[in-house]
Amino acid sequence: MEQRYLTIALGKGRLASQAMELFEQIGVTCEEMKDKRTRKLIFVNEESKLRFFLSKGPDVPTYVEYGAADIGIVGRDTILEEGRNIYEVLDLGFGKCRMCICGPESARELLAHHELIRVATKYPQIAKDYFYNKKHQTVEIIKLNGSIELAPIVGLSEVICDIVETGSTLRENGLLVLEEVCPLSARMVVNQVSMKMEHERITHMIRGLKEAVWQNSQKG
């Protein structure tokens, strides 16, 4: 029987290039994708019957849930925020950062009680889950689309819920990490049906990637 294409969705940006490096380590390459001038949306590796495409991070779980992509590479923040019905099979070990509640030192007091406070974030689901189900604090969530750090500075909210990598943006703006919500990193996600129907190929790929991730971690 003719082999089907396995379709892999990659979140645009640094995540995608790091993921491709990892794929190269296990002998999966896609020359087409390296051409920076290309206008193509989808890239094919005929030899191993693979297709790659780039999409906005938050769309990756959607493509995978509906089976439009068999496999996706995406940050855990997106997976948690989208809450899609997909398998999260492997921690790829790169793109490590933390989801944190940040604000000025003066806001620390507000998190200790069950006071109603305002939280600005790009991740309303994650923020809601953290405050309602873990802290049991009622909050008002304000969804923003970028430069979240501005919110407490200009008085839009008391705290923010955002990704922290080095914390330098926070420090420069007089904010600090008040609480950690969860650690984050890039993950491999798989469609439920693909996991069954293409079990061998996908499991083989997961094993290879796991091995590569382990080797990279040994290198430090």
């Binding site: 089976g67 439920q192 049906v193 069954k196 129907m197």
Partner: protein
């Protein structure tokens, strides 16, 4: 035309013409098949009291249910699936019956899930329930019916994945996991994150055989040697051993049904439905991003209604099955046999008599009074557009 009146709400739609013909054919095929296994059709109400689909029994979170009130203030729910209704019915009407009851159903179900854009909120489910038979034979019958249904639908490539709820329960009990640890393991397993499971298990102080059992949930088993190995590991854990032995016997019976090549075993399969106690299964095929059939044994469900009885069943979502068939380009052949009888006013009586006679003989006849402004070609074009097989004119000349 009142354009704004023509819309249907998001998540519901009209199904008509060829698509509906196909849906009816598919439903007939599947219904016919279930009847051939001795299942009796049953119809339950479209809406019931909230408690029927409530927390412990339910498969759908409360906020995804369509809820409304009756005049007494009771909360009513549009059914999200039919299994709880069937369980209620069985408890009510077949309470005296000690021998098995076989029921099959088809009906529309409603899930108010706004998150899923592009997903239907009203779908047709078709399924069967076998009540009062705790044997593995019953398990085998149900799975072989699922396979037969998928084949009858025209699918060639599909997989039924079978697990056992006792395996996971046995593992957590044998390892003495806390509720939190169990939740973590459940999360890892339901995400098929088997490396995560390995790492998690490494942190536990476990006996070697149990450790090996923990590595098994994700694998798909086929060979006799592998079964043997698993059973040896499970020798000291009766609950796990029972689950494995049940699955092994099931495999033997599925071979007798000649359907074992469509079935793979995944002992540690987990279902989000709380009421499953024995086997759990899902069916997968290309062209549908989610399982097209789900089912299992839920011996505890009936006890919510005050009766202890074994039960198992499955449900198909017909609309998903249709989508998978379309995407795999598998045709459902529709035969068109309608005759269009176009008559001039002078031939009225004759035309009506002819149509009556033909209908009595089972022909499909459409009658149409000839509009003087139209030509034979107009009617031929009309017939073509509406899949009418034949046109006959009763007119002068």
């Amino acid at each position: 035309m009142q354009r704004e009146l023509l819309h249907t709400p998001e998540g519901v739609r009209d199904i008509y013409h060829e698509e509906y013909e196909k849906k009816l054919i598919l439903q007939d095929r599947l219904n016919g098949l279930l009847r051939r296994y001795g299942y009796h059709p049953i119809q339950t109400p479209t809406f019931e009291f909230f408690d029927i689909f409530g927390r412990e029994i339910g498969t759908t979170p409360s906020r995804d249910l369509y809820k409304f009130f009756d005049k007494e203030g009771n909360t009513l729910v549009l059914r999200p699936d039919l299994t709880p209704s069937i369980a209620r019915c069985v408890t009510k009407y077949f309470d005296e019956e000690d021998l098995p009851v076989r029921l099959c159903y088809m009906g529309n179900t409603f899930i108010n899930n706004s998150r899923y854009q592009g997903r239907l909120k009203e779908t047709t489910q078709l399924g069967a329930e076998l009540i009062g038979d705790p044997s593995v034979d019953a398990d085998a019958e149900i799975i072989s019916m699922v396979v037969a249904c998928l084949k009858a639908a025209g699918l060639k490539e599909f997989q039924i994945s079978v697990g056992h709820a006792g395996f996971f329960r046995g593992l957590t009990e044998a390892a003495g996991l806390t509720a939190e640890q169990e939740e973590e393991l459940r999360n890892l397993l339901s995400n098929k994150n088997f490396f995560g499971v390995e790492e998690f298990v490494e942190t536990l102080p476990l006996e070697e055989n149990l450790r090996r059992l923990f590595q098994m949930p994700g694998r798909l088993y086929a060979s006799a040697a592998e079964w043997q190995e698993m059973k040896e590991c499970a020798a000291a854990y009766p609950q796990i051993l029972d689950a494995l032995e049940e699955l092994e016997l099931l495999l033997a019976l599925l071979k007798a049904y000649d359907v074992s090549r469509y079935v793979s075993f995944e002992p540690g399969m987990i279902s989000s439905y709380h009421y499953y106690t024995g086997i759990i299964f899902s069916g997968y095929t290309y062209g549908s991003g989610e399982p097209i059939v789900k089912g299992g044994r839920y011996d505890r469900l009936l006890s919510y209604f005050g009766r202890d009885a074994a039960a198992l069943g499955f449900a198909f979502v017909i609309d998903q099955l249709m989508a998978a068939l379309a995407r795999q380009q598998i045709a459902i052949p529709v035969t068109y046999e309608t005759l269009l009888l176009v008559y001039q006013a002078a031939y009225r009586t004759e035309a009506i008599r002819k149509a009556r006679r033909m209908r009595e003989h089972g022909r499909h006849v459409e009658l149409l009074l000839w509009d003087a402004a139209r030509t034979k070609e107009d009617y031929a074009a009309y017939a073509k557009k509406h899949h009418i097989a034949e046109v006959e004119f009763m007119a002068e000349g």
